[in-house]
Structures are given as structure tokens and as C-alpha cells.
Symmetry: none
Subunit: 472 residues, 2 copies
């Protein structure tokens, strides 16, 4: 699949831009640390003001770049930052997307340092958001700043959209996109929210899974009941919840919700062969996650199971006594967050309805069970031979000296589906962190080497994209 490693081009980017990047290295690193210090956690209401601070930080940099129409757009929840550099008449327009919100930092006790006191040490940035996705924001801004310092304009027109709810379902952006088609008119979309392949192999992501995220609430009584006085005579909501969850997915990794697989586009033999050829080392992957053993879907490889097949997971579960020692109660209620990862062309809303019906059907008597939709996003898939995908491949090869691999990601970037299905744009997913960067876990990190390479790839990519035919 991958060609043997070869030297990068001697001058992959304009020497003046390269000189500017060399000169700004410390300042660019500090810019990332500065942005990562803002605790822009979109799911936690107490960070609402931090979301605005992060948005304003980005808007200020955009204005510094000479972008026009720069605006921090208020929404019902968190702001969207918009701006444009349209200085290449006749050239294609690229809609560039990243997000400035981050995952919650908990569990705090597992961080080696404070999550919002990021640092760069031994060539590695550590802190919440340095990989997902603030590092990529700063790569883009810094690439353009270096071009400006060298007196250059991008060879394409760029429309910027930075959102603040990627980790929270993107609802505000989804409402805003259809109402702002004219401001978003473009020839293609470039999303930088993915990463390299296992082992730091440059990659372009051609497929993303979708998601359907729900909550199941099981209620027994208004207060906890004494487990001696009542045990044996009432349904225990935690036992009931366990039974419901067990019914959702078999030990074979197959989701048991009736109809769940009905709309799944099956993996073709050619793609299965291509995936099998990827340099994916199962044992290295297992070691990196430190799990006792990998467990995939019956009939599929681990790589297929985690990127190209739908699945279901409990994201959280709680109810009753969680302290040290013992409390002899039957919990008043128990709860679980449950989400499914979807592939083309499953519909999140349809999957939720199937979940709700099935939960109601398997729920035991003696408790009240409610299933609530939290958010959803469709899967997406972009062809390898699309000119924009190929342009990105050339930019990566120029900087990294190897061809990128074309992969699917198990995660979801809901906006991808919106750009694809609502705006009708081809979407290129190019991103630069390593895949095991703890993006949603403690001690999130980004190698400075990837930060530097990604910045240069972007400088080159604006040139490469200039050759993409409009409307392709």
C-alpha cells in the first residue's frame, strides 16, 4: 500500500515562508499554549464565558491575517467564528473547518499536570485540546501568518468556520449552515479534525462513522429503599438497567437492536483488501491502549470493526451508592449514556427510534424506563480518486516524503455530513496529530514534529488545491 520512505522535496514550500516558519517557531508554540489555556469545554455550562474567550482569540488572529467579514457569531449556545480570505479570483474556494471546543478534563486525578496549564516539553505539547483540535487551529493560522510574513497570498479563496460545539453535537452550527449557504459557498470543504494513522503514518481520512447518542433512565421510587426491608420484593433499577444493556449487544460484538444493520452499506471485497494491506499492527494497538485483549465484531478484522463497522457502547453508567465501604440500599434510579457509531448510510434518528422501541420492549416490569435522544450525526465517505483528495495526498507527500494512506476513522465529525449532505461539498479530511494522542482522555498530547509538519503541509496544500477544477 504505502510506498517506501523517500526524501521530501528539497524545497516543498516557498523558501521565504519556510524562513518565516523557522523564525516564528517559539511564537507558534506559545500561541498553541495560549489557546489551550482557555478551558473551552462546550458541554459544561460554567465554561460558557471561556467559549467566547476562545472564539475572540481566534477572531483576533483572523483579523491579524487580514481576513474579511470576521465575526464571532452568537448562537443559542456557543459562538461560531467566521471569516474569509478571498484574494484569488477565479481560483477554487475552500471551506476550512476546525473546532475550538474541547472535551471535559475529568477524571482530573489522572492528569499528570493541570489539564488547562498546557506545556511543551521534550518536543511534546501536553494539555486538554492540544491535539483535538486546537493544535490544528494554530497550524492553519500559523501557516497563513508565515505566508503573510513572506508577502504571499493563498492561491485559493479560503472561507473559515471555527465551531464551539463539536464535542456537544454541533447543534448551533447545524442550525446556522442552512441559513448561510451564500456565506459558505465553496468548491470543497477541508476539515482538520482527524490525524495520522497508527505509528505516525501520514493519512487522509476518507470515511468517518456517524453517531447516535442517547440516555436510558430507569426509575424505581422517589428515594433509595433499604435493601433488607425491600430486597426481593421490588425490581432493582440497576439490575434492570444491566439487563437492558445486556440485551443491546451480544458477546459477539453484534448490536441486537432489531433493524440496526438494515441500512448499512456493506464493505466491498476491494476495500476489505485495501484495509487488510494497511500497516496496522494489532498487537501494537493493543499495547498502546493497554487493554487485556482486543475484541472485535464477529466476522470482521479489528481494523474493520473499529472504523468501518457500526457498534454500540455504554459511555457512562451510574446509580446508587458509589463510595467506599457499604450502603445497604436499592437505588431509587439508575442511568446510562449509550451511543452507537454508525456507518454509511445509517440514519441516526431512525437508529434512535429503533433503540427506544427495543428498550421499551426488553425493559422489565416494576420500573419506569425512559430513553432520550441526546445527539446524532451521519457517517460520511469521500472517494480516494477525488481531485481534492489527490491534492491533499500530493501536499503530504511533498512534506513527509511518503504517500499518505487512505483510511477510515471510527470517530464522528458531525459537520462532515452537513458539508456533504447540506452544502453538497466534497470533503477532504486532513489532520496531523498521532492517533494515540489521548484526544478524549487525560494527558492529551501533540508532538511538535507533527505540529511543524502539519503547518508546512497546509502551506503547500493551498497551492495544490488551486488546481482542483471548480465544481469537481
Amino acid at each position: 500500500m504505502t510506498e517506501p520512505t523517500r526524501a521530501p522535496e528539497p524545497t516543498p514550500i516557498d523558501p521565504a515562508v519556510e524562513a518565516a516558519l523557522v523564525a516564528s517557531r517559539a511564537a507558534r508554540a506559545e500561541a498553541l499554549l495560549e489557546l489551550a489555556r482557555i478551558p473551552s469545554v462546550s458541554t459544561e455550562p460554567e465554561h460558557a464565558a471561556d467559549m467566547v474567550t476562545a472564539a475572540e482569540w481566534i477572531a483576533a488572529r483572523l483579523r491579524g491575517l487580514g481576513a474579511t467579514e470576521v465575526e464571532v457569531i452568537r448562537t443559542d449556545l456557543h459562538p461560531i467564528v467566521y471569516g474569509r480570505i478571498h484574494e484569488a479570483p477565479g481560483a477554487p474556494t475552500v471551506l476550512l473547518y476546525t473546532h475550538f471546543d474541547v472535551q471535559p478534563a475529568d477524571p482530573l486525578e489522572l492528569w499528570e499536570t493541570a489539564p488547562f496549564e498546557p506545556f511543551l516539553r521534550d518536543g511534546r505539547f501536553v494539555g486538554r485540546g492540544v491535539a483535538d483540535d486546537k493544535g490544528q487551529i494554530v497550524m492553519h493560522l500559523a501557516a497563513l501568518e508565515a505566508m503573510r510574513a513572506a508577502g504571499k497570498s493563498p492561491a485559493v479563496n479560503i472561507t473559515f468556520v471555527f465551531e464551539g460545539e463539536e464535542e456537544f453535537g454541533s447543534e448551533s452550527l447545524f442550525n446556522w449552515i442552512p441559513q448561510n449557504r451564500h456565506r459558505l459557498a465553496a468548491d470543497l470543504a477541508l476539515i482538520s479534525d482527524t490525524g495520522y494513522f497508527e505509528g505516525n503514518v501520514p493519512a487522509i481520512t476518507i470515511g468517518l462513522r456517524g453517531i447516535m447518542y442517547a440516555q436510558i433512565d430507569v426509575e424505581l421510587s422517589p428515594v433509595d429503599l433499604h435493601s433488607g426491608q425491600y430486597g426481593g420484593s421490588v425490581e432493582n433499577p440497576a439490575n434492570a438497567l444491566a439487563r437492558i444493556i445486556t440485551a443491546l449487544k451480544g458477546p459477539d460484538g453484534r448490536v441486537r437492536i432489531p433493524g440496526f444493520y438494515d441500512d448499512v452499506v456493506p464493505l466491498g471485497d476491494a476495500e476489505r483488501a485495501q484495509m487488510a494491506a494497511l500497516p496496522f499492527d494489532e498487537e501494537a494497538f493493543r499495547e498502546e491502549t493497554q487493554v487485556p485483549a482486543l475484541v472485535g465484531e464477529s466476522g470482521y478484522t479489528i481494523l474493520e470493526s473499529r472504523t468501518a463497522r457500526p457498534t454500540l457502547d455504554v459511555n457512562g453508567i451510574w446509580g446508587g451508592f458509589q463510595g467506599d465501604g457499604a450502603k445497604t440500599i436499592i437505588p431509587a434510579h439508575a442511568h446510562a449514556k449509550v451511543s452507537t457509531r454508525l456507518v454509511a448510510s445509517q440514519d441516526p434518528q431512525k437508529v434512535f427510534e429503533a433503540l427506544r422501541e427495543y428498550v421499551a420492549q426488553v425493559a422489565p416490569p416494576g420500573v419506569k424506563v425512559t430513553t432520550t435522544f441526546i445527539h446524532g450525526g451521519e457517517a460520511s465517505l469521500t472517494p480516494i480518486d477525488h481531485p481534492a483528495t489527490q491534492a491533499a495526498a500530493r501536499a503530504i507527500r511533498a512534506i513527509e516524503g511518503v504517500d499518505p494512506v487512505f483510511i477510515r476513522e471510527g470517530g464522528s465529525i458531525p459537520v462532515t455530513a452537513a458539508f456533504d449532505h447540506v452544502l453538497g461539498l466534497p470533503v477532504v479530511l486532513a489532520g496531523f496529530p498521532q492517533p494515540n494522542s489521548n484526544a478524549h482522555a487525560p494527558n492529551e498530547w501533540l508532538d511538535e514534529r507533527n505540529f511543524e509538519a502539519g503547518t508546512r503541509i497546509m502551506v503547500r496544500l493551498w497551492d495544490e488545491l488551486a488546481s482542483v477544477p471548480s465544481g469537481s
Copy 2:
């Protein structure tokens, strides 16, 4: 089962003692209010001094009764009060147990008045501890004080043990009992920490369930994993925990741990008939708990299921994200507190070993599962036809005018098993509050009618117990 209501005996207790009780009515009520004003919450360290104050209050009353060897015994945690009135040579010795610690008062906002500012109004005491168990302490002390006022000695020898950690696991008492067998030598134990049956029906508790309390820990990885990147390729510890819990108990209410029922003494037809005749109103019980429906063990009534059959409950469950909204993780680990209620003659340690083996057997690959013992206590059962049980029944009938019902309680009083198994004593459980007295909830209450009746029953019971053969 219960005989029709009939008039109590014209002179159920000595007229001089009755006269003393009539004369002391206001003072006895005030004594209960005084004791209930001491916030002796054993589980809250800030009340350590209050525990001593309550102990000294009791010791002072014991000395006033002319008890000997009265001592407030310091332990590693809260004191034990010891004393004896041994004035009946040749008569049986009764070990009398109650406890002076109380449950925490929270949630405070649900109390109609301050929990430690008790009052007597419209024939009802209200305040933390008036039912569990301070009312019973004062009934016992007042009964003996009235006998003293009438110039009488109890017809049996009484050894008093008042403990201060009943609501906190009784650890100090459990350490103290085996080291003080000689001071606790007796013919039988009388525990006043139970109550009447539903609807204020006089009752003697002949059985208590035991307990085995454990924790199940399921570990996947050192940190939470991104549910998109890893979902489908690793076992989810919360899904795995759900599968384990589901395997423990069927929807029929039957525990599925192999061997779990092996040592259970089956309910005989006679006892089942006797339980069926109890005035237990399932719908009233359901309404009181406010659960959607009662769910018992298949093949048993609700009353049997909750008092005379073993069962298993999740007491708490947790893992992963518990906040509002969504976090797209696979939890690093998931946990559950799981306890079984046991009946005669199940062994908590043996049940734990069976649980541990079974959990290991049903645990899916891909996660590490550990089962840990937290605590255990054996069930107890005293025959209805035991002479001490029959003596208590006669005392109750004499005062209340009806035969008591013989019931089992679903909860555990750990000291019962210690008296039974460590000291080898038959145990009579006779107590006087109504069952819905909010013993562990806000607005705990005790009817003055039950307080007055209980006091007289105790006067009579000392006489009745004199006829119990030593060593029976």
C-alpha cells in the same frame, strides 16, 4: 393467625407498678425527649462527643436503678454502656440489648422540624431516634424505674448492653463480645430494635436475613478511550459489567450463582400458611414505597420474597461519564456494589466464594474483573415454640389483648448473629414502634400509645421470662 381482639387482662402488671407508671407519664416522655435531643450520629465524626454524652446519660439512669458494674466502655470508636441488675439468684439471666446511636438526619430539608429538637404532640413523638432506638431504651429504663418505685426487683437477672455503632457496622461491639464472654454469660438475649407488623399489629420477630456485601470491579485500560476510535475493537467495561450483573439474577427473581440456594432452609408449609395469614396489604406496601409494581421471586409471595427468601441486589453502579450531555468515551473501568440477603443457614463467606467463582466464569474476555468481599453477617432464626419466644408472646398478649404475630424481617441486625453464633444464646427480638416509623428517613416518629404499651410489656416480660428453663 391472629386471634380476635380481646380485652387485656384486668391487672396485667402489678398495680403498684401501674400506679408508678401513671404517675411518671410526663417524666417518662420528657426522658425520651431529653435523650433524643443528643445528636448521637455514629457515622459522623463531628458527633463523637455526643456519643459519649448519650452513653453517660444512659449510665446515669442505670446507676439510678441500682445497677452494678455500670461502665461506659471506651472502644476504638464509640462507647458501649454495660451494667447489670442481678438480684434473682437461681433465675435465668437475660442479656438485654439496644443501641443509642442514630441514623444521620439528612436530607434535612425534608424534616418538618429540626431532627434533634424532638417533641410530643397529639400523642406522637417526632425526632431522630425516637423510634430507632431511643424510645426502646427509655421504655426499658422506665419500666425498671417504675418497678423500683413500687419496691419490686425484676424476677430475672438482667445484663445490659447498649451500643453506639449499630448504624455503623457494630465493629467495636464485635471486637468486644468475644473478649467479654464472662461478663455476657446469660441464658438468652433480648434485643429491642425491631417493631410491630404493618398496621400496628404486635409482633415478635423470629427471623432476620443475613448479608454478603461485595464489590465487582471491571477494568479495561488505564484511561478512558475515545468511543469512535476504539468502539467495536475493545470490550466495554460497562457493557461487560452489565452482562455480569445480568448473569447473577434472572428476571424471575432467582439468583443464578451456582450453589446459592444449596444451604437454604426451605420454608415449611406451616410457616408459609402462617405468613399468608398475616395482615399484609401488598397494595398499601406498594403505595408506601411508590414503586410502579412489586416484583418478587417466582413461586413466592411478596412477603416471603422480602423477608424469608434470599435475594441479590446491586446497591450502586458507576463508570464513565455521568454528567449532563454527552461524552464520547469508553469508560476505563466500571464498578458495582452487589449484595445478597441471606437466610438460615447460608454462610456469607461461602456465598461470596460462589459469587467470585461465578463472576470469573461469566466475565467476558478483554477486561480484567475482580470481586472483593466487603462484609458479611449470618441470618438468624429463633423457633416460635422456644420458651423465651413464648414468654414474650404471653407478655404482649397480656398488655395488648391480642396474640402477637410471628414475623421475619428482611433486614439484618448484625449483633443478633453475634449473640446467636458467638455467645450461643437464643435471641428474642421484641420491639414496639410501628413499622412505618421513618426509622432511617426524615420525620421519624413513635406513638405514645406504643411507648406506653411497650413499657408495660417489658414489666410483664421480666416476670414471664423467669419461667424459662436455664440453658433452654
